[in-house]
Structure formats: C-alpha cells, structure tokens
C-alpha cells in the first residue's frame, strides 16, 4: 500500500516558480498497476521522481509500508531506495557492464554475496526472457531487450513497488506491447505494485487497473480505468479517451447517416466487461420489434475486461 498525501513540488528558478506537482493525493493498494497520464509538462516525471526522492518534495507525505519516504534521512532513504525499483525511458544501463553485470549492480549495492548474486541474476534473466544474452553489452541489444535488462535490474532486490517513467516511449508499438505484457505478467507473478507514467492512453488501457489524469501538476481525475473511459469528466481526459477510438471525434460525420425520421433515434452504447460479449443488438431487436442500424463501433481490451462503444440508430414505434 502506498499512500500519497498532499504532495507538492515547487521549482524556483531565477525568473519563475513552477508548481510542477500541486497537492496530489493518491492511494495505491498492493498489487495494483496504477497509471498516471498527462500531456508534456503536466508534472508526471516530477511526480514519479518524488516517490523515490530523486526530487525532494516541497510538501506532503509518501507513506510506503508505514514509512514516510518524504521524511527519511539520507542513510535510511538509501536503504529504502533498494526496495523501490525504477525503469527509465532511455533505459540508463551502464554501457561498461554486460547484461549480467548490469543486473548484478543493484545486488552489489545491497551487499549481496557473490554466489547468491549469480543465482539471483540467472533467475531474473530467465524471468525477463534474456537467456543466452548475459554476456552481451547493452550496445549489442535492441531497445526492447535493453528495457528487459532495465526491468530485471529494477527487480533485483525484490522491491515492493516498481516505478516506470515513460518506460515504453522510446520503443516501437510492437515492442511496447511486449514490454507491457512482461510488466503485467510480473505484476501477476510477484503481486508487485507498479506505478507507471505515460502520455499514451493505449498503455493505460492495456495494463492499468486505475488511472490518474494530470494537468498542470494537479490530478484532475482518477479512478478505475473503465469508469474513466466511459465517463470522462475533464476535457483533458476526453481528449485522451479519443486517442483510443480515433473515429470518435468524427461523430459529426454520422449526421449524414441519420434519417430525419420521427421514429428513429441515434444512441451511443458502452459495453463494459463481459457485457461486451453478449449478442445484445439481436436480442433487443427481437424482443422490442425495432430495426437497428449500426453506424460505428469499436472495442478495446483492458485489464478489467473489454470496453466498447457502438453508435446505433434505432427505428421503431415510439411508446
């Protein structure tokens, strides 16, 4: 369980002050994949870097396993950081070390004995699917493989939480999906809490249980991914949801299909979870004696089940 309370970060430079993170409160239960989405400059990176104190908070608490990280002194913080894994957009591997040595690095830091280290590294290499590459240098790996090394390295000291700062933003769509699948499988296998930040709704949709939307340092909306999808409240969230069904913003074009018939109406249907699998349309049309004309639809899988939208025109007697 991570409990973030009234977290703020103010950057003061010569000519301006920036409220990069502004009074953010979030609770994240153990084993959850929590996403933070926002446009560039929203304060996402600053937020996630506050959690392991790569940035010092201006105000607020970060309670992780009954300890306030924001209040920790240097030495206890150093120890605590060993239990907080982090992966980065640009991987940040040591080019001077092989895959094996990179993954062993956090274990060296934690003072793990050589034999135990080797065993653990082998285990991690297998977990992230890099068997056979242990003696390669990072420069000999693809982006996706580098991020696998990054993930293995982050998991080396059995962290209680994994922080991901735009972990897939430097990867192509296919590799992104592979890495996201890996994160989900690690989350399930180890019951590991994951906090990830991104500017791609696709990432949220694919892996997150809950999501927070950030704008100018503030969380403007948070909740279950499906709820946020179905009933986006803020303008920013609506724009993100549109990313998923690109046809959504072309709704105007539907006009030409809509008949001026008194007896017809256009409705937007949401399908959530298992409902998405039912043959709803044909059921309705049979039972109610109406004609249904499908105008547009889309369906996308999420962690909590499928989510679909459908625009239909219903024709029939009004009662």
């Amino acid at each position: 369980m991570i409990s973030i309370k009234n977290l703020s970060k103010v950057f003061k430079t010569k000519d301006q002050t920036v409220n990069a993170v502004d009074d953010v409160s979030i609770d994240i239960p153990k084993g959850e994949i929590f996403g933070v989405i926002g446009y560039s400059g929203a304060g996402k990176s600053t937020f996630i870097r506050l959690i392991n104190r790569l940035e010092d908070p201006s105000e607020g608490e970060i309670i992780l396993d009954d300890q306030d990280i924001a209040a920790l002194k240097k030495e206890p913080l150093r120890k605590k950081r060993q239990k907080i894994g982090m992966i980065f957009q640009h991987f940040n591997l040591l080019w001077s070390r092989t895959v094996f040595e990179n993954i062993a690095f956090p274990l060296e830091i934690a003072g793990v004995q050589k034999n135990d280290r080797e065993e653990k590294v082998q285990e991690l290499i297998e977990l992230v699917g890099l068997k056979g590459r242990e003696n390669s240098y990072p420069s000999q790996l693809s982006g996706g493989q580098k991020q696998r090394v990054g993930i293995a390295r982050a998991l080396a000291n059995d962290p209680t939480v994994l922080l991901c700062d735009e972990a897939t933003s430097a990867l192509d769509p296919e590799t992104t999906d592979d890495i996201l699948d890996l994160l989900v499988s690690i989350n399930e296998k180890l019951n590991l809490t994951i906090i990830l930040i991104t500017h791609e709704m696709h990432v949220i949709q694919k892996v997150c249980h809950r999501v927070a939307v950030m704008e100018q340092g503030q969380v403007v909306e948070q909740g279950e991914v499906l709820n946020v999808f179905v009933k986006p409240q803020s303008k920013t969230t609506k724009r993100f949801v549109q990313q998923l069904s690109p046809l959504e913003h072309q709704i105007d074009r539907l006009d030409e299909f809509i008949t001026d018939d008194e007896q017809s109406e256009v409705v937007k249907l949401h399908f959530i979870g298992n409902n998405a699998k039912r043959a709803l349309i044909s059921e309705v049309s049979k039972q109610l004696d109406v004609a249904i004309n499908i105008l547009q639809g889309s369906i996308s899988p999420t962690q909590e089940g499928a989510y679909g939208t459908l625009y239909v025109e219903i024709k029939g007697e009004r009662t």
Partner: protein
C-alpha cells in the same frame, strides 16, 4: 655503416638514456594518473548539481589547477628545486625530475578528467542513486568505468606531453635522452647524437600513442 652515419654515438649511453626516459615517463604517468583523477573528481563532484556540490572547494581546486597549468614547465622545475631536494634528497638524476613532472602534468590531466566525467550520462548516475548506491559506489562503479575510454585517451595525450617534459628536464641534469642530446650532442657539436636521440624519442612517443589507442578501444563497449 652505422658508425659512418653516427660516428659519435655510444650505444651503451643511448640505452641507459632510453631506460631513464622510460623510467621517468612511466613513473610520472602513474603519479599523474592518480593525482589527476583525484583532482578531476574533486573538480567534477563539487561542481553545481553534482554529488558533493560545494562552490568554495570547487573554486579553490580550480584556481590551484589553473595556476599550476599556467606555469611553464621549465620554470616549474626551478621553482620546485627546494621541494625536490627535500623530497628526493637530490636535485640530479631521473628521480629528481619526478615531482616537477607530476606536479606539472597532473593539473592538465585533471581538466581532461573533469571533461571526461562530464560526459557520463546523467541518467545512469541517477539510476544508481535510485538503486540506493553510496557515493563511493557511484564514483568507482559508475563514474570511472563509464568514462574510462576518455580517461585513457586523456592520459595518453598527457603521457606524450610528459615525454617532452622529460627531455626538457634533461637540461637540468635529470638524465634520459634529452640530457644526452643536450650534453653529449648539442654542447659538443655532435649533431648525430642529437639526431639519434630524436629518433628514439619519436619511437617512444609512437609506442605510448599506440598503447593508449589500443587500450582505449579495448575498454570501449559503447
């Protein structure tokens, strides 16, 4: 044939001088490497935004480095006479040249070290901090290994400067090929000795350059 071209050269003297030049160069390179890395690390780490950010220590170190870099080597030797006498117990011979060589070259190398360290990816240092690394772990397992190719090419450049310093030190009687070229060659008008000494020094420079390039490439896995 050889005696026709180099009538005044005595090969046993040549070999002794070559040995002395190698001796002075290698010991002073080692000393410069250690002192230069210490100073370079101090310059880098106390710089703004880095591990031991401290503007006072930073500007003191920078001033010392700049002052010693500004002093011409030949004058530095003269300035260090009393110090050398105290430290080595003599002001003649290869050992007497070492303090001046190291103190002359280390500030130059320190700047090269600082530049090399600045090139280390900030993200990698941050990753190590995020793992809970101590300062000495970051220095010895991140900063130095990640800048090693530049540290080696820097010490190669410095070593070649040191070879020419050893020749200059020869003028005050430090021994080596410079000494031989000056005493036996120049002063006695035996220009064949000067010429052969030059060839030997050039060969030594090439050897150091080759070794430097080779090992720099060897450690570079970028």
């Amino acid at each position: 044939m050889f005696n026709d071209i180099f009538p005044n050269v005595q090969m046993d003297q040549m070999w002794v001088a070559t040995y002395e030049t190698f001796y002075m160069t290698i010991i002073s390179v080692i000393g410069t490497f250690i002192l230069g890395i210490l100073l370079g690390l101090l310059l880098y780490l106390t710089n703004r935004g880095n591990l031991w950010q401290n503007s006072i220590i930073n500007s003191i170190t920078a001033s010392v480095v700049n002052v010693f870099r500004a002093i011409p080597f030949i004058i530095l030797i003269l300035l260090l006479f009393p110090f050398t006498d105290f430290l080595v117990g003599t002001i003649r011979g290869p050992n007497a040249a070492l303090p001046a060589l190291i103190i002359g070259a280390a500030p130059f190398y320190a700047r090269l070290v600082e530049i090399a360290l600045k090139e280390v990816d900030k993200g990698v240092i941050e990753a190590a901090q995020a793992m809970g690394a101590k300062a000495h772990t970051i220095i010895f397992k991140v900063l130095l290994p990640e800048s090693m190719p530049a540290l080696i090419s820097g010490i190669t450049v410095t070593a070649i400067a040191l070879i020419s310093y050893t020749a200059m030190a020869g003028v005050i009687g430090a021994g080596g090929l410079g000494d031989l070229a000056y005493m036996q060659g120049f002063q006695r008008r035996n220009f064949d000795v000067v010429f052969l000494c030059t060839i030997f020094i050039v060969v030594i420079v090439f050897i150091f350059q080759f070794l430097g390039d080779w090992s720099s490439r060897k450690v570079d896995h970028r």
